[in-house]
């Protein structure tokens, strides 16, 4: 595998051919914020938070492959503001009540909002009417919190490759549907995996919860993206 050089915000970096911008950034110790991306799953580029700029063109770092000599902008203030806007869009699109959410402190959307110091979104709340789907024996779907990242779609399948979580509809009406027949046979292990893979509190296991108290959770002490956890001040 041949080695290629590129820069991120002026920093000289090296990577191997065939890596995505996101992978290459990571190997060079550069943080690019992500949300729909999940280690080991095929990237889909749905949230667009990892958008970077090269030669004036915008591209999602998780799906774009690196080319030799690329000059990548990652922390440009206008780019960071657009990422912040995307996070705000996700907040106004759904109904997110962090204080009552089982995922608080483990939620990547919440952690990113802290990193980007979002006090209030620039967009008006949409207050959509969404439901909670609790027909499956082991899990429930809190549609109010879903951000359409498709992690569950990609991560959870039956042994013969059938999908249990599936996107339904299109446009702003798009939602994740669960196959009731297959969900009924979901093992504890897969149910746990589904909940852990979900970046927000949209997939929750039934009859368990709050095993780790709020205050001692993943992002309560260590901010997402490392460092002091602060994006640029607004």
């Amino acid at each position: 595998m041949s080695e290629i050089t590129f820069t991120i915000d002026g920093k000289a970096c090296k990577a191997v051919h065939g890596q995505t911008i996101l992978e290459a950034a990571k190997t060079n110790g550069v943080y690019v914020p992500t949300l729909c991306h999940y280690e080991g799953l095929k990237p889909v580029g749905s949230c667009r938070i990892c958008t970077v700029r090269a030669s004036g063109r915008y591209m999602a770092a998780c799906t774009q492959f690196l080319s030799p000599g690329m000059v990548i902008e990652n922390m440009a203030p206008d780019l960071e503001d657009m990422r912040r806007a995307i996070i705000e869009m996700l907040f106004v699109e759904g109904n997110h009540m962090c204080p009552t959410c089982e995922k608080s402190g483990n939620c990547e959307l919440q952690a990113l909002a802290y990193r980007y110091q979002i006090m209030a979104p620039r967009f008006p709340f949409q207050f959509p009417l969404r439901t909670i789907e609790a027909s499956a024996p082991k899990i429930m779907l809190e549609h109010n919190r879903c951000i359409q990242c498709q992690r569950c779609v990609r991560a959870i399948q039956t042994k013969d490759g059938r999908k249990i979580f599936v996107p339904l509809n299109r446009s702003h009406k798009k939602k994740i549907g669960v196959d009731s027949r297959l969900a009924a046979e979901l093992t504890d292990e897969l149910a746990r995996k589904a909940m852990d893979t979900c970046p927000v509190g949209s997939i929750l296991r039934k009859e368990v919860g709050f095993a780790v108290p709020i205050g001692q959770r993943k992002f309560d002490h260590k901010p997402i993206g490392g460092g002091n956890g602060e994006g640029p001040a607004r």
Binding site: G45, S46, A60, M82, A85, M89, K163, P167, K174, D179
Partner: protein, 602 residues
């Protein structure tokens, strides 16, 4: 209880034919019932949710009954300009149900639909696959009464259009409205000549000829067709494919419909030439569902060509060139005009665009190297092989060779199809079409740009005003905000919902526009519109999202004064939230008058 098993078997339980299976069931039962979904899922080894995911993606598929007769009335801007509202009311009154609903007896369903490619003869509707054009409230009434007597929809067509619309296999009331025949697409055509000339040369030479002709993609994006073929040919892995994109969904365009009706052989010969050039043995013509009434007509042409050895084995006497074409139908999704979404759909899945790279020329249809070309591009390629690159380049501008088919609609005397050389100005086009007092021209459909009089001297060309062919003309009496609003509704409805900026952003833009139109806008709101629009353009994943804010961004630039006229220039901030309006219901119920004084926070 229908036997869905037959349908599934007929399609060999092939998941890549899922759309065909669903379409047949939808046609048979008026919807896709639960039992059918269970049956399909079991046979195709998919989960039921996956099948539901596909059904719910497409506009013409439904989980709930849509009536024995299903009326899809075009809701595009030009339809509204020609009196859609009155026609819709007539349908509702006569049928006894509102749009979006089905009559209690399940006989008639009324639904709106995005542009169906009949802009020069609006208002138009599709009823059980049959197209009805130039509707009036009177005609709508007749149609509903005919439905109530149980007549076959095809028998409700009383008059046929011109040309091949009258043929036994089409029998449609659609008119071609060909206003100007140009030298390329509508020039002299000798069947078989392009194919024979192509196979007499090396594939590389065919590609070279198309490259030399500087043929740029006619769908709107303008990618060099010869280069695309070269990239595709260069891929070494196995079987290659040619896909013809006949999914013109850009509101205002109908040029491909006319070619499909009058010159299907030219398209198919273009596909054969492309197949020879890239080394493909199979081609797929992806036809938008709205044009399904042309399918038998196209299939008959395929049969003719097979008989004439222009399709099949050893084409035109060649030693080892075998090629054939199948037709695949869409099911109502604008985004499927995007080439990678089209491939997803052709493979029987939700029509969501793929991440690129890899590009379709590398990994395309069924994961094989594929060239996806627009209908008009393939026609032009066939003509280039017939007459040579120099001939083609002698027309148009140095950067935009050849001619362009323009679908002209809106406020003009002669709406219809025009084939004109690149480089003509908008003003020249307006004169030809008889649009004397145009106030705004939408070039390239909603995803294109809206220009004002001061830009009418600009040229239609890739280097100036590019267009896939949609030209909509608006007179000074039109309310431009209403038009922009319709265009935004279109993008909101047609977004696949995959990525955040397109899925969420366009609704936010529209809400902001509503606020401004309601007289509650400020300068800051105009700045927000622009910033949010640019954000959606930059951050969206595919061409749909990247162009979806254009109705707003281009009018902000070219019709700024309209926005300036409705905002409150005195105030820095006006809340989106209107307390008076929000408490109106409560005030009415309690029979109290709210006291709405400005509250000072100082």
């Amino acid at each position: 209880m229908h036997n869905y098993q037959d349908i599934i078997n007929r399609h060999q339980k092939d998941p890549s034919r899922l759309l065909d299976i669903i379409r047949e069931i939808q046609t048979l039962s008026g919807h896709v019932p639960k039992e059918a979904i269970a049956e399909i899922a079991g046979q195709l080894k998919l989960s039921e949710a996956e099948v539901r995911g596909v059904v719910t993606f497409y506009h013409f598929f439904s989980l709930t009954p849509r009536g024995k007769y299903t009326v899809y009335l075009n809701s595009a801007v030009t339809s509204c300009m020609q009196g859609r509202a009155a026609v819709a009311r007539a349908f509702e009154v006569e049928a006894g149900c509102l749009f979006g609903d089905v009559t209690p007896d399940g006989l008639i369903g009324l639904f709106p639909t995005s542009c169906i490619g009949m802009n020069d003869q609006e208002p138009s509707a599709i009823i059980n696959g049959v197209v009805f054009t130039s509707l009036t409230p009177l005609k709508a009434g007749h149609l509903v009464r005919a439905m109530k007597t149980g007549r076959l929809v095809q028998d409700m067509v009383e008059e046929y259009g011109d040309g091949a619309n009258q043929s036994d296999l089409v029998r449609s009331m659609v008119s071609n409205n060909i206003r100007k025949k140009g030298p390329v697409i509508f020039g002299p055509f000798e069947p078989g000549l392009a194919v024979r000339k192509a196979v007499a040369r090396k594939p590389e030479d065919v590609i070279e000829e198309v490259k030399n002709a500087n043929l740029l993609g006619r769908g709107g994006a303008g990618f060099p067709a010869g280069l695309k073929w070269e990239f595709c040919r260069r891929e070494k892995t196995g079987q290659h494919y040619v896909v013809c994109n006949a999914d013109e969904g850009e509101p205002g365009t109908f040029k491909d419909r006319v070619i499909l009706t009058e010159l299907p052989r030219l398209i198919l010969e273009g596909m054969v030439v492309a197949g020879y050039a890239v080394g493909a043995a199979e081609g797929v013509l992806y036809l938008r569902s709205e044009y399904s009434y042309l399918k038998s007509h196209l299939e008959a042409v395929l049969e003719d060509m097979r008989r004439e050895n222009l399709l099949g084995k050893n084409i035109a006497g060649s030693a080892d060139f075998h090629f054939d074409v199948t037709i695949k139908l869409g099911a109502g999704a604008y985004v499927c005009g995007e080439e990678s979404a089209l491939l997803e759909s052709a493979e029987g899945r939700r029509g969501e665009p793929r991440n690129r790279p890899p590009f379709p020329v590398q990994i395309g249809y069924l994961d094989r190297p594929t060239t996806v070309n627009n209908v008009e591009t393939l026609c032009a390629a066939a003509k280039i092989i017939t007459h040579g690159a120099a001939w083609f380049k002698s027309m148009g501008t140095p950067k935009s060779s050849g001619t362009k088919l323009l679908s002209v609609s809106g406020d003009c005397e002669r709406p219809g199809l025009y084939e004109l050389e690149f480089g003509l100005t908008i003003q020249e086009l307006l004169d030809i079409a008889g649009a004397r007092d145009a106030f705004a021209v939408q070039v390239g459909g909603p995803s294109g740009t809206c220009i004002s009089r001061q830009d009418f001297r600009r040229k239609i060309a890739f280097e100036d005003l590019p267009t896939g062919g949609s030209i909509m003309i608006f007179g000074p009496w039109r309310n431009l905000f209403e038009i922009i609003d319709k265009f935004m509704d279109f993008f909101i409805e047609e977004s696949c919902g995959w990525c955040t900026p397109c899925r969420v952003g366009n609704s936010l833009l529209k809400e902001k526009l509503d606020k401004i139109r309601a007289g509650r806008g400020t300068r800051q709101d105009l700045r927000d519109l622009e910033a949010w629009g640019k954000l959606i353009r930059a951050m969206s994943r595919c061409g749909l999202g990247q162009t979806s804010p254009n109705p707003i961004l281009s009018t902000l630039q070219n019709f700024r004064e309209l926005y300036e006229a409705v905002i409150d220039r005195e105030k820095d901030f006006v809340s989106t939230f209107d307390l008076g309006e929000a408490t109106l219901g409560a005030a009415r119920l309690t029979q109290r008058q709210p006291i709405l004084e400005e509250t000072s926070h100082e």
